[in-house]
Symmetry: C2
Subunit: 423 residues, 2 copies
């Protein structure tokens, strides 16, 4: 698997690379927008493509609850389900379950939890989390880990780290045995095994039988056109996760022992859980030093625009965060002049663009006055446009970082746009 | 003004024409999507352009309350405010005020009403409704009328019709005196008169002063690029409205007396107010017979896809309705196979497109299963995609009607799309 990650340039600790997945190439360092329940809230997939999104993150916990794993597997996996032909990463559900606090119970075997939607009881283990992620069929999936709470004592942090290591081994073992079951891998083969017959898949049968013009009808199966199946035999990549709380020695040990399991990529988990930002940065810096240079490094759940630049400069290759999308829904917008709250009355008569230095479709077309009006009037378009801009800002920021590392890379800026990263 | 409406072909009572406004050409018969508070809920303006929307309707009552008329006037009018370069029609506010029921009080002078937002007191008269619509600067504006309730007795219907006639005269008189005050007509001239100085307009000043690179900055004033000002000297068109309840003779009299005021276009108001659909159609048919053939005819507030086809075939040129956009928000979708409710469980595993005969960006990409999931998970993207499809269906329907009247017209269909109109 390490052959599918290529480092093309470095500058200090920072690396510009290229991650090849069954659904395409991802230029790194990369920011992955979050599509919690198979949708980046309010943004159509073609707009995400236009923004240059090469990989999305989606949440196993949420998809497991709604619409459920089997519907997505039967429809050919998450890519076809959500009509997203490019790469996807799913988390293991561990972090969401961790966030449930009162609703969960951790044992050696796994985590028992209650749904935040209806209170129903569920259980995730390393094995079931792998089964779930294989059913979803993301390109990159994550080992099932325990996200250590903060603050945690030395003993608790060690215990939690050890549990995550045992779970990593179980995750890997299950994955290696079952990785051929990914829905997009030889669909006709695997689907016919599990469902008896390809045409017996309910949706497909209905779609086929309801159309007399079956040849046209077949070509018009939604999603089929835009999400071609990967080459036969390709499988997902399972990444390991380093834990260890806020203890440098535990982090080192967690990294070294996770590496012995030989994952094609490594994530740093258990950060952004309430600790001071300076501490986050320290832990990232010391942990990165123990990760292999030839594998992608994924820092989970960060951060602000400044932070993602800083982490990329520390040698992180992949990041995700709900901040740009969630902030957008609250009218908080990232611009080259800093963060602004579009709801403020001072924007009511401001006909300038949201960010004069931004070339996104929102800044090219709409005024601050209009965006402020949409927000004040509680119009859905406010959320749509705000989210598009914030994502554009994050993606532009990351493109600028990549360009600062590998000046010959595909970084493209519109006239008038400036480089946001100041390396 | 009648020179700006050209009939290009007829078939029976139906006409295919072309309406030229200060912001472009509109092929008729046309369906106008409703953007209540300067936004078609959830749909970005570039998507509306892509759908082929040539004219939008926006509501004076809602804009008057939020964001208010002066902010829009100061920002150059509704086109610039909402970054919509094509044509706009505003209603007079009469219908919305009529809908307030308990919150309004009608006198000869006008209508006193309370805001549905905060209960504050307001007053609309023919003069203030014209002043409001001139401030907004839509291409086509409507006389202030009283929408007669249904059912209404003969005496009440006559009284209401007479009031509408007197208000039409007052509307026209005010408009003729003040029509040069439209914000996009010689902006630098009029704005400098009302605001003292062009650069003293708050938003503009702020935008200019906050950017050292003033030449670039000027070019980047949002909306300026995409909404070029109409040629100097152009003004809005004020349409008259025919009332008369459900009485054919009153409708005839209303039409004839409104025509003596010589408007460049005529609307049929006071329908779709609770009467049976067969009666609506009868009244439309009998009223159309009394309207001049060389002026556009606008039927307000209709209808279903079947109805808009039927009304176009009766000789109606313009229609608007919240049905496609409102139904979309409730998961009700119009397709070539009839109306469907996407929330139904039977769609959970249906990987066919929403409408196999539709070529819109939603049907080309997403499955019914995905759209059903988005709706069930209460995702904002459900509203966005559903609205885009329903509008596309309406616009395709109207294009097919136009094509059936004038086969050489600009009707464009994607391969596989069928004509929905069965003339």
């Amino acid at each position: 698997m390490s052959r599918s990650f290529h480092i093309e340039a470095t500058r200090g600790a920072a690396r510009a690379g290229r991650l090849v997945t069954p659904h395409g190439e991802v230029e790194t360092p990369v920011f992955m927008p979050v599509g919690t329940v198979a949708s980046v809230k309010g943004v159509p997939q073609d707009v995400l493509e236009e923004l240059g999104v090469e990989i999305l993150l989606s949440n196993t916990y949420h998809l497991y609850l709604r619409p459920g794993l089997q519907p997505i597997r039967q429809l050919g996996g998450l890519h076809r389900f959500m009509a997203w032909p490019r790469s996807i990463l799913t988390d293991s559900g561990g972090f969401q379950v961790f966030s449930l606090n009162e609703l969960r119970q951790v044992t050696e075997e796994g985590v028992k939890f209650r749904s935040h939607l209806d209170g129903s009881s569920h259980f995730f283990s390393p094995e079931s989390a792998m089964e779930a992620q294989i059913a979803l069929g993301a390109d990159i999936i994550m080992a099932f880990d325990e996200c250590t709470e903060h603050p945690a004592g030395q003993e608790r942090a060690r215990h939690s780290m050890e549990l995550t290591l045992r779970w990593a081994e179980r995750s890997k073992k299950y994955f290696e045995t079952h990785k051929q079951e990914v829905p997009w891998n030889a669909v006709s083969d695997f689907e016919s095994r599990v469902s008896g017959n390809w045409l017996a898949v309910p949706g497909r049968l209905e779609a086929a039988s309801s159309k007399p013009e079956s040849s046209t009808g077949e070509a018009r199966l939604a999603g089929q056109v835009s999400t071609p199946a990967p080459a036969a035999g390709q499988t997902q990549s399972l990444f390991g996760i380093v834990q260890g709380g806020m203890d440098h020695r535990l982090r080192k040990e967690s990294a070294e022992r996770t590496i012995t399991l030989d994952f094609p990529g490594y994530a740093i988990g258990g950060l952004s859980v309430g600790e001071p930002r300076a501490l986050t940065r320290e832990i990232v810096e010391s942990t990165v030093a123990h990760l292999p240079a030839d594998r992608p490094r994924y820092l989970m759940g960060v951060g602000t625009p400044d932070e993602i630049v800083a982490y990329a400069n520390l040698g992180i290759d992949m990041m995700d965060c709900v901040l740009p999308t969630r902030a957008a829904r609250h009218g908080l917008l990232f611009t080259s002049e800093g963060k602004i709250s579009i709801k403020q009355a001072r924007f009511a008569s401001d006909q300038g663009p949201l960010d004069p230095a931004c070339g996104c479709r929102v800044c090219r077309r709409y005024s601050r006055a209009y965006l402020r009006h949409l927000y004040a009037a509680n119009e859905v378009l406010a959320q749509v446009l705000n989210t598009i801009h914030n994502l554009s800002f994050y993606l532009d920021t990351m493109r600028a970082v990549r360009h600062s590392i590998a000046p010959g890379s595909k970084a493209q800026f519109l006239p008038g746009e400036r480089s946001r990263a100041k390396p």
